[in-house]
Symmetry: C2
Subunit: 345 residues, 2 copies
Amino acid sequence: MTQTPPRPAAGSPAPRPVPTSTDVARLAGVSRATVSYVLNNTSAVRISEPTRRRVREAAEELGYVPHAAARSLRAGRTRIVLLPTAHVPVGPLYGHFLNELQWALRRLDYTVVQYASMGLDGDEAARAWAELRPVAVVSFGAVELTPQGVDVLKRSGAQAVITLGPQPVEGAHSLPVDQRRVGRCAGVHLVERGYRRIGVVLPEEPGPELFSGPRLEGVRHAVAGTGADVVPLPLARTEEAAGALAARWPGLGLDAVFAYDDEYAVLLLRALLDAGASVPGDTAVMGAGDLLLGRLMRPRLSTVRIDMEAGQHLAELVDRVVADPDRTPENRDLMAARAIHREST
Amino acid sequence: MTQTPPRPAAGSPAPRPVPTSTDVARLAGVSRATVSYVLNNTSAVRISEPTRRRVREAAEELGYVPHAAARSLRAGRTRIVLLPTAHVPVGPLYGHFLNELQWALRRLDYTVVQYASMGLDGDEAARAWAELRPVAVVSFGAVELTPQGVDVLKRSGAQAVITLGPQPVEGAHSLPVDQRRVGRCAGVHLVERGYRRIGVVLPEEPGPELFSGPRLEGVRHAVAGTGADVVPLPLARTEEAAGALAARWPGLGLDAVFAYDDEYAVLLLRALLDAGASVPGDTAVMGAGDLLLGRLMRPRLSTVRIDMEAGQHLAELVDRVVADPDRTPENRDLMAARAIHREST
């Protein structure tokens, strides 16, 4: 592609002149190459401290910052790590993990950008991400990446495409984060405590299917062969919907319910209590996520605690794969899950 | 800056060849200019539909996607809108607003990236953002942007720098989102209901100061001249801390408490109930945010409901400012707040 000088788009006013490295070089009385070496912290070239200082002061005076895009065109790749974000708010658990990961990547000198990917299918998303030419993409299941999508990303320069999810994706480094284990923990806990007719609350809202489906599957797996039944229960995240479910509860003949997460569990727990049910006497209620609100309910909510490995480890893996894309994929599970028995089961 | 051909960084393997527009042009049998016109949806040039299709098919076959960076260097600016993100998880309210905003910006053909900005001061953050050469930055108070920071962004090509917060920032389009109004609603509600010794719970955790300080100030403002007292109460977000505060509650002589948000309110409400207090008989408890968990408590939590204007409006404002950076700043408040009386006050 031919480089033409920057010019304003038709119909919009001329942008103010943007200071360039040439301006910095002129003001500091050095070559443009020296400016580039100093501002990109190139250690390969020996430049005296007074010169470095003069360049930095000139850059500051002019308000010059290097252009990540220009740098990436020169170097053939960026230091951008792209994290696709979901269209559902992440819980405190993922929020904490994401923060750790972003900090750790920044310490490794990456630029981390989150890209809202809601409403895109896997291939659309991959093309949209590829336009930013990220050197790495770490996908948490906000979209279902396909092998074709991975290929688009790699062809556009991504060295590392890492997916966290139950299914490996061809061409990507797939780290298993198996939500089925959350459901399995709940199922084992409930069966061990003697429950035999187990409802599983699934959010009616779009978004969490990638999590809720595997969690249901995990419960089914845990109870297989025990003689217990599993009954899926779609539920909207409203008091009205929970009240309606509680009203028809006696007819369902369930002695326990595992909800997708603590929020849905507490919503249903409250509705059951308000309808006069005894918990866990008539029905046991269990959630997932070990959120504060579950601990604040009476009876205290039993839950599945989910722990994510420190974000630092994943950041280091990203860095290793960027440096050596053909290395043998690692596939440690980043997630641990265990049942926590409180008062509601 | 001189353009040298892409080359691998020292010490890392050669990246696989990235398909270029030249490859697409060759395969489709058209000029590179035609490829560029078709893939950038340029309407100024008339190109037949069969040719457009041939170009698109060739691009797909080769896995070619345009390079946002190269395009931005050509056009002099990007279509990137940068949203700095905080280091605290945003509540469902902001989460919803952010989603709406991102959708709306995407429909206007912007590329939206979120940039984790925790731990950066205002000027560091502005320089880091500027490296991505965003055409617009919409800052929600994750960092305190300074006039110098705004200048760095504008000099690097940002047409629109929009801040949402209580204080206007020189050089930016500042939209007031005044958290003091949240505290004012709570203060007026409590004073009207006859409470005279009002505690205000402030999170001990770092992060929400930009919100909690103004909310406290708002309560103070609302009770000024009424004879009521305001007592700040720092509280960590743990059951232990809430239990300790509840244990010394009788000695504080408070007849009401407004907590920073519904989570802290419910945390303290539970501890007060567990310690045998009657709510609202002995002490009224009020939160902010109208979260589900407050509605699930008994007594139901009174709260301040906060409504953000639809993200679509802000997206359109971004687009107008990008097109005409010198327009007179608008300064509508995007936030509405009102007290909701339930059972705890």
